[in-house]
């Protein structure tokens, strides 16, 4: 699968109650296919302090609907990006990284757990696994109802959507692993997780204890996204040591992450 640099036009953009933004783009020319868990590197023009591209997870991709991103405005560059007017053309490099393993059997029951902007790659993953015949449950973690509202609608093919909030304003009060389904995680054939590192470590811990197959999507500061700069490494296990999150990941099976617990 060949990587390329493409221009995309922004055709839809709206804010979720959390303040994060759903942005839908169509390619200006040929564009390679993206798979769940992969990411793009976008060049944010006119952001004076943003020298480098910004890595952003693919939230959804299809030939018909183009590319959807879920973006958190967290610095001057991403804020500028989320405020782009419709019709803006942005330059992206894609598809990057090694996504989720979607090689499943029909009828498998899977759990997708996410929090914050980390739910982005789970959106496409849910569609993909449901189409392959999986029964998909979603577990969302947030600080309050604002982080949850509007999110279940992004998972139309999920059978159930569970939620937790720190303040109890939506779903279970607590963190995502406080949702009762985590007490019987072995009911699931697979767990996929993307969110803040403490959330992913908690989910991985329960998956290990329950002996459930589990993949997590790591994050790190990246420069190139191509495995050239070696800036985004994670020490994953004793044998392999530091590997590039951008090319070996961002998705890793927790069995490989023995130094990451």
């Amino acid at each position: 699968m060949s990587k390329c640099i493409c221009d995309f036009r922004l055709i839809q953009s709206y804010a979720l109650p959390s303040g994060n933004r759903i942005m839908q783009f169509i390619p200006e020319g040929d564009c390679p296919e993206c798979f769940p868990g992969q990411f793009i590197e976008v060049k944010i023009d006119h952001a004076p302090t943003a020298l480098l591209r910004r890595p952003i997870s693919v939230c959804h991709y299809s030939v018909r609907d183009g590319l959807t991103l879920l973006v958190k405005p967290q610095g001057p560059a991403t804020s500028l990006f989320t405020e782009l007017p419709l019709g803006s053309v942005v330059n992206m490099m894609l598809p990057l990284g090694h996504g989720f393993n979607t090689d499943i059997k029909p009828g498998e029951k899977v759990l997708l757990a996410g929090g914050g902007v980390g739910i982005a790659p789970l959106v496409m993953l849910c569609d993909c696994l449901a189409e392959k015949g999986a029964t998909v449950h979603i577990a969302l973690g947030g600080r309050s109802a604002n982080d949850i509202n509007g999110i279940p609608q992004l998972f139309p093919k999920a059978e159930r959507v569970f939620a937790s909030t720190n303040d109890g304003s939506a779903g279970t009060e607590g963190v995502v692993t406080d949702i009762p389904i985590f007490e019987r995680l072995a009911d699931y054939e697979r767990v996929y997780c993307c969110g803040p590192t403490p959330m992913m470590k908690a989910v991985a811990r329960i998956a290990r204890a329950s002996e459930v197959w589990c993949e997590v999507s790591l994050e790190n500061h990246m420069a190139c996204g191509l495995g050239a700069c070696l800036c985004c490494v994670e020490n994953i296990n004793e044998a392999e040591g530091n590997v590039c999150v951008c090319t070996e990941g961002p998705v890793f099976n927790i069995n490989r992450l023995t130094s990451w617990q």
Binding site: I5, M93, N220, H221, A228, C231, C232
Partner: protein, 303 residues
Amino acid sequence: MAINLSVDLGAGLVLKNPVLTASGTFGYGHEFSDFIDLDKLGGFIVKGTTLEPRQGNPSPRMAETPMGMINAVGLQNKGVAYFVDHIYPTLTRFDSEVIVNVSGAKLSDYVAVAEALAPLDKIHAIEVNISCPNVKAGGMAFGTTAAGAAEVTSAVRKAWNKHLMVKLSPNVTDITEIATAAEASGADSVSLINTLLAMDIDVERRRPRLSTITGGLSGPAVRPVAVRMVWQVAKRVKIPVVGLGGICSADDALQFIMAGATAVQVGTANFIDPTVTIRIIDGITDYCHRHNISDINSLRGII
């Protein structure tokens, strides 16, 4: 008009055009082969290779700064034996020059790496890195005194009879003194600048942004310092100078050439636009057409 872009760095290193990629910013080339035809480059310098495998520094290794970035990779690589057995065979098919950046913690390491690379036919040049700011021993320590630079250069010179390029640190009072020492000790060319030692602090979390506290600054921010140093060194030494530091465009590359560089290296810009090297080569050709320059060598050192 036919334009000659070819440059001769001496001691058997002739480039089809003056554009190289900087070590540590271009992997082993193949990372970029989806985007550009690597054979169009003057050459590429593969990342810092040491005698033993190195894990490099812990994360975080990178921080973005105004028009720059600070890195503290710390020479992560699988060691020269792995390079010779597994990576070198993937590089022999290229028509462009492939140069290996050689690093070490002690003198004998540099020599051992050079010896291991010497039999490789495709490798016509090594770049000896005496200027890496991100390793505890060796690296920049050798590059900040004329004596240290002379010591490494002389030692490697005995083990390596092809082109020997020495990469200089900008973190010195007088870079011409270091360049002169390298020249006198047998360097065939000098490349400069490596990164400026720098630091960035996350004031909200009240901690440094890099695991190593300090790291090396690169990118457009450092270009004016790099052009100045190339200009100073080119006026002082007789061997060719290879200029680098923040080059993002043909105009940037031409600044270095006019300041006295025979060739240039493109580094950080590869991270932003993987096709930047080709844009630069095309831009230089375009400049020559507009200005009626038939040979890029005629622009060298005109300042």
